[in-house]
C-alpha cells in the first residue's frame, strides 16, 4: 500500500531533488517534460476578461463560512464578478465532478479538495489546466505546489482530537488515540466519515497505517456517533452533543474556542493526521479567466491572510502573518501524508471502514 513510485507526474509532495527538477524545467525546456507555465500576475487584462464572464463557480470542501467569506471578499475585491460556492465534503465534491463530467456537464471553474489524491486522478485524466500565480512561485515552499502548475496547496489541515470542556475536565481528557479505547468514553464520541470528507479519508488512512486497522475495530465498539463532515464533529462537541471528537477540522475547534465555546484541542501522542488541501483550475472551466483570477487571488497574500486570520488554518504562503493562538505546524507531531497510497487504496479504505462502523 505504501509502495512508492517516483513517476514524476505522481509525486506531488516534491522532495528537494524534484523541486530542483521543476525549477530546471522552468528554466530549460526539456522535451521529456511539460513546460511549467509562466508565472502569472493579476493583470488588468485578466480582470477585464474575468468581468466579461461575470461569474466564477467554486466547488470546495472548506467549511461553509470560510468558503462564503472568500467568495464575498473576492466579489468585493473584483466588483462585477459574482462568486458561487458549492460546498460539500471533498469525497462528495470529487464524486459530483466525476458525475457531471461523465455527463458532459462543465459547470465548475475551480475546486478545492482536502484529499490530494483527487488531484492525481484529475491530472492523470487530463482534466486540469496548468496555472501558476506569480506569488506562488515566489513565496510558496516547493512542496506546496505542482511545478507544472496543476495544483496549489491552499491550506494545510490537521485532524486532531477535541473535547467539550464542560463535559470533560482538562486533566481527564484523553491524550492519545489509545486513550479513546477506554470504556469510559463509550457512547461519548463523535466521528466523521471518510466517504464524505477528504480530511477524514487522510486521517483514516494515516491512523490505520500507523496504528493498524485493529485500532478502528476496537474503536467501532465504542458506540461512536457517526456524522459525515469533518466540519460537523467540532460543531457537535461545541453543542455538547458528544464530549470527544475523534477526528475533524482542528481549525474549527480553534475558531470556536476563540469565540468562547467550551471546546479545546488535543494533539494525540501517536501523531496528528494531516491533510494538505489543494486547489485546481479545470481545463473545461466555463469561466476560465474568472477561475484563474480566483485561483490567483485566493493564493495571494491577501487571500491567504483570510485563511490564517479568519479560518485559523495553516497557510503555505511564506509572507502571511501568523496570528497567535494556533500551535505551529512544526511544533505538532504529525503523521505522514501519502496521497498516492490513498489514490490507490481509497475504495478499500471506504469498504473496510463501512464494514467496521456499519455505515
Amino acid at each position: 500500500m505504501t509502495e512508492k513510485k517516483f513517476a514524476r507526474r505522481d509525486v506531488l509532495k516534491g522532495t528537494t531533488a524534484l523541486a530542483a527538477a521543476g525549477m530546471s524545467g522552468a528554466l530549460f525546456a526539456q522535451p521529456a517534460r511539460a513546460q511549467a507555465p509562466a508565472a502569472a500576475a493579476i493583470t488588468p487584462e485578466l480582470i477585464e476578461a474575468a468581468k466579461k464572464e461575470g461569474k466564477v463557480v467554486f466547488y470546495t470542501a472548506m467549511d461553509l463560512t470560510l468558503a462564503q467569506r472568500l467568495g464575498r471578499e473576492f466579489e468585493q475585491r473584483f466588483p462585477g464578478i459574482s462568486a458561487r460556492v458549492e460546498r460539500s465534503g471533498a469525497e462528495r465534491v470529487f464524486t459530483r465532478i466525476a458525475q457531471e463530467f461523465s455527463s458532459k456537464i462543465y459547470a465548475v471553474d475551480l475546486a478545492n479538495t482536502s484529499d490530494l489524491a483527487h488531484v492525481i486522478h484529475w491530472k492523470r485524466d487530463g482534466l486540469l489546466a496548468p496555472y501558476l500565480p506569480e506569488e506562488v512561485v515566489k513565496h510558496y515552499p516547493k512542496q506546496y505546489y505542482d511545478p507544472e502548475g496543476f495544483q496549489i496547496v491552499t491550506r494545510v489541515l490537521v485532524s486532531p482530537l477535541g473535547y467539550n470542556t464542560n463535559l470533560v475536565k482538562a486533566e481527564e481528557a484523553p491524550k492519545s488515540f489509545a486513550d479513546l479505547l477506554d470504556p469510559k468514553w463509550a457512547g461519548k464520541m463523535v466521528k466523521a466519515h471518510p466517504a464524505y470528507s477528504g480530511t477524514i479519508m487522510n486521517s483514516t488512512y494515516q491512523t490505520a497505517r500507523d496504528l493498524g486497522w485493529e485500532y478502528f475495530e476496537k474503536l467501532a465498539k465504542q458506540r461512536i456517533m457517526q456524522v459525515q463532515s469533518a466540519t460537523d464533529t467540532p460543531k457537535k462537541i461545541a453543542l455538547g452533543e458528544r464530549a470527544i471528537m475523534v477526528d475533524g477540522a482542528g481549525y474549527l475547534i480553534i475558531q470556536y474556542k476563540e469565540k468562547g465555546d467550551p471546546v479545546d484541542i488535543i494533539y494525540p501522542e501517536e501523531g496528528t493526521p494531516v491533510a494538505t488541501s489543494p486547489s485546481v483550475v479545470f481545463k473545461s472551466a466555463p469561466n476560465p479567466n474568472a477561475g484563474r483570477l480566483f485561483q490567483n487571488w485566493m493564493h495571494s497574500r491577501e487571500g491567504q491572510q483570510i485563511i490564517v486570520d479568519f479560518a485559523r488554518q495553516y497557510s503555505p504562503h511564506a509572507q502571511t502573518v501568523e496570528k497567535p493562538g494556533v500551535r505551529k505546524l512544526a511544533d505538532i507531531k504529525l503523521m505522514k501524508e501519502d496521497a498516492e497510497a490513498i489514490e490507490k487504496g481509497a475504495e478499500e479504505i471506504k469498504k473496510r471502514y463501512s464494514a467496521l462502523f456499519k455505515v
Partner: protein, 578 residues
C-alpha cells in the same frame, strides 16, 4: 351518456377538426416514455455488468447474488422492514382514534385540528427529522436538557435518544400519520348515520354501536392507511439519512444512495432498487383488494349527517390526547426551528440577550446558493403543478368519460408511478437521462420529469373522482351545440372542476417543494433545490442556516397556496361544483 363519441363527429361545421384523439394518444405516448424509460433502464442495469475486457454490457445475475448474500445489503433490507412495519402500526394507533374523535364525536375545534394535521403534511419529513435532532439528541436536545434541569439528573443522562431505531420510527410516524388520519376521517365522514341509528334503535348503546357498526365499516380505510404509511416509511430517504446514519445503521434508501458514492455502482443500486419496487407493487395490489370491498360502507346511499357521539367529561382526556399528538409533528418541531433560527447556538433557548439575526443574514446575504435553490424550487414547483394538473386533468377526463379506446391503459399508466419510490425513480431517471438520446441530466427538465411522474398518481386520482361528480350531460349539451371535445372540456367541465383543480395544483406544488429522495439523485450544482441544499447543510452541521431555509421554504409554500386560492376568478369567488 355515450353520445360523445369521436366517430359521431359529423356535423354542419366539418372544417373544425376534433383534436381529441391525437391529443389523447400523445398523452398516452408521453406517459409510456415517462414511466417505461427509467424502469427499463433500471431493470437492464440490474441484470448486467460491464465486461472489463470487452467494455461491453453483458447479462449477469451477479448483482442480485450480491444483494441477497452481502450482509451490508441484507441488513438494511431487514432494518427497512422493521422500521416500516413499526411506524405503520404506530401511525394507526394514533391516527385511528384521532380520526374517530374528529369525525364522529362532539369534540370542539375539529376544523383547527384538521388544519394542523395538514400542516404536519406540508412539513417536509427531513425538516421534521432535523428539528427532532434539535429537540431530542441525547445530550444537546432541548427536551433532554429540560429533563436534566427538572430532575437534576447527571450530565449524560437522557430521556430520549433520537439517534436510534425507535427514534427513527417515531419521527417517521410523526410525518406519515396524516395519510392514515385523512383516510380514516374521510371514511368516517362518509358512513351514513342511519346505520348507526338502526343499531341504537335496536337497543345497542353508544359503545356497542361504535364497536359493532362504525369500526367494522371503517376498517378497510384503516388497513389502506396502514399500507400507505408502510409504503411511505419504506421509501423515505431524508429521515433515515439524518437519524440512522449517526446511529450506525442503514436503511435500503440510504444504502442505495451510498452506492452512488465514488466509485459509483449503478448496477448494484439498480438491483437494490428493485425489491423496493416489487414490494410496493405487491402492497398496492393488497390495498386494492382491501379497498375493492369498500363498496359496502356506502350502501346507505344519500343519508343524514353522521351522528356525533357525546364525549361528556371524556372530552378532557380526548383533547389532551389530540394536543399531545399535534405537539409532536407540529408545535415542538416548529418551536425548535424558530429557536434555532434566531439563536446563536441551535440547542440553546434564545433570550432577548442572545437573539441574533446572524443566521438570517448568513443564509440570505452570504450563502451563494440560497437564491439559486429558492428560484429552482419555485420554478419546479409551479411548473410541475401546472403541467401535472393539466396532464392529470386530460387523463382523468379520458378515463372518466371513456373518451378513447384503451382508456384503461391510460388510467393504469397514470397510476403506475405510485409504485415507484422516489429514490428508485431517481436512480432510473439518472440512468435514462444521462445518455443519448435524452441527455437531460444537469437541467431542470430531469427534475421536472421526476416530480411530475411522482405526483401524477395522486393528482390523477383526485381529479378522476372530481370528474365523476360532474354529470356528463353538461358536456354532452355543449358538444351537441357544436363544440369540440377539447372546447367543451375547457369551457364547461374545467370551470365546474375549479375547486378540485386548484386543490390538485396546490397538492402537487407542496409535494414538489418537500421532495428530497428523487432530487438527491438528480441534482447538479446548477439545479440545486432547497430540499437538497438543506440536506447539504445538514451534513456539515449548519443548523442555523437550515432553520432559516426550512422556515423560508414553509413561508414560500403557504404564500403560493394562499395566493393561488385568492386568484381572481378562482377559488371562493367562482362557481362551485356540487
Amino acid at each position: 351518456m355515450t353520445l360523445a363519441l369521436p366517430a359521431q363527429k359529423e356535423g354542419r361545421r366539418t372544417f373544425k377538426v376534433d383534436f381529441s384523439v391525437p391529443v389523447l394518444l400523445t398523452f398516452a405516448a408521453l406517459l409510456c416514455v415517462l414511466i417505461l424509460l427509467p424502469i427499463s433502464w433500471l431493470v437492464m442495469y440490474s441484470l448486467s455488468e460491464v465486461d472489463p475486457a470487452t467494455k461491453e454490457r453483458v447479462f449477469t445475475l451477479a448483482q442480485f447474488r450480491t444483494l441477497f448474500s452481502d450482509p451490508d445489503l441484507v441488513e438494511p433490507l431487514i432494518t427497512t422492514m422493521i422500521v416500516a412495519i413499526s411506524s405503520s402500526v404506530a401511525c394507526c394507533l394514533v391516527a385511528a382514534p384521532m380520526g374517530w374523535l374528529v369525525a364522529r364525536t362532539d369534540m370542539p375545534m375539529t376544523k383547527v385540528i384538521r388544519a394542523l394535521v395538514t400542516a404536519s403534511f406540508v412539513t417536509p419529513p427531513f425538516l421534521g427529522a432535523i428539528a427532532w435532532e434539535i429537540l431530542a439528541a441525547p445530550n444537546s436536545g432541548l427536551l433532554n436538557k429540560l429533563y436534566r434541569f427538572l430532575t437534576g439528573a447527571e450530565m449524560d443522562a437522557y430521556l430520549f435518544n433520537i439517534y436510534s431505531m425507535p427514534g427513527l420510527i417515531f419521527v417517521i410516524a410523526c410525518y406519515t400519520f396524516p395519510y392514515v388520519f385523512v383516510l380514516v376521517a374521510n371514511a368516517l365522514d362518509r358512513i351514513p348515520g342511519d346505520l348507526e341509528d338502526a343499531s341504537s334503535i335496536l337497543g345497542a348503546g353508544t359503545w356497542t354501536t361504535a364497536r359493532r357498526v362504525t369500526i367494522p365499516l371503517v376498517l378497510p380505510a384503516l388497513l389502506a392507511g396502514a399500507l400507505v404509511a408502510f409504503l411511505q416509511a419504506m421509501i423515505l430517504f431524508g429521515s433515515p439519512a439524518i437519524l440512522a446514519l449517526p446511529a450506525g445503521f442503514h436503511t435500503m434508501t440510504t444504502k442505495i444512495w451510498s452506492l452512488f458514492q465514488y466509485p459509483p455502482k449503478p448496477e448494484l443500486a439498480a438491483a437494490a432498487s428493485l425489491p423496493l419496487l416489487f414490494l410496493t407493487v405487491m402492497l398496492l395490489r393488497g390495498q386494492q383488494m382491501i379497498l375493492g370491498r369498500k363498496g359496502y360502507s356506502i350502501v346507505g346511499g344519500k343519508s343524514g349527517e353522521p351522528r356525533l357521539i357525546r364525549l361528556g367529561w371524556f372530552v378532557v382526556p380526548a383533547m389532551a390526547f389530540v394536543v399531545i399528538v399535534l405537539m409532536l409533528p407540529v408545535f415542538l418541531p416548529y418551536f425548535a426551528l424558530l429557536n434555532a433560527a434566531f439563536s446563536p447556538i441551535a440547542t440553546n433557548l434564545v433570550t432577548s440577550a442572545t437573539f441574533t439575526m446572524k443566521n438570517f443574514h448568513f443564509t440570505f446575504f452570504e450563502l451563494s446558493t440560497t437564491q439559486l435553490a429558492l428560484k429552482n424550487t419555485f420554478i419546479l414547483g409551479a411548473a410541475s403543478a401546472t403541467i401535472g394538473t393539466v396532464l392529470a386533468l386530460v387523463i382523468s377526463y379520458a378515463t372518466a368519460r371513456k373518451a378513447i379506446t384503451g382508456y384503461r391503459v391510460l388510467g393504469f399508466l397514470a397510476t403506475a408511478p405510485i409504485a415507484i419510490p422516489g429514490i428508485v425513480l431517481g436512480v432510473g431517471l439518472f440512468l435514462a437521462y444521462t445518455r443519448p438520446p435524452f441527455v437531460l441530466y444537469g437541467t431542470l427538465w430531469v427534475l421536472l420529469i421526476a416530480y411530475i411522474t411522482i405526483e401524477l398518481p395522486a393528482a390523477y386520482q383526485q381529479l378522476q373522482s372530481a370528474f365523476r361528480a360532474v354529470h356528463p350531460e353538461l358536456e354532452d349539451a355543449s358538444r351537441i351545440l357544436g363544440a369540440t371535445r377539447l372546447r367543451s372540456l375547457r369551457d364547461v367541465t374545467a370551470p365546474l372542476l375549479r375547486t378540485s383543480v386548484l386543490a390538485t395544483w396546490c397538492f402537487i406544488f407542496v409535494s414538489t417543494v418537500r421532495e428530497l429522495s428523487a432530487a438527491i439523485m438528480l441534482f447538479t450544482s446548477e439545479t440545486k433545490v432547497v430540499s437538497v441544499l438543506i440536506f447539504d447543510l445538514k451534513e456539515s452541521g449548519d443548523l442555523g442556516a437550515i432553520a432559516i431555509l426550512g422556515l423560508s421554504m414553509l413561508v414560500l409554500t403557504f404564500t403560493v397556496v394562499i395566493f393561488i386560492n385568492r386568484l381572481p376568478g378562482f377559488g371562493s369567488s367562482g362557481l362551485r361544483n356540487t
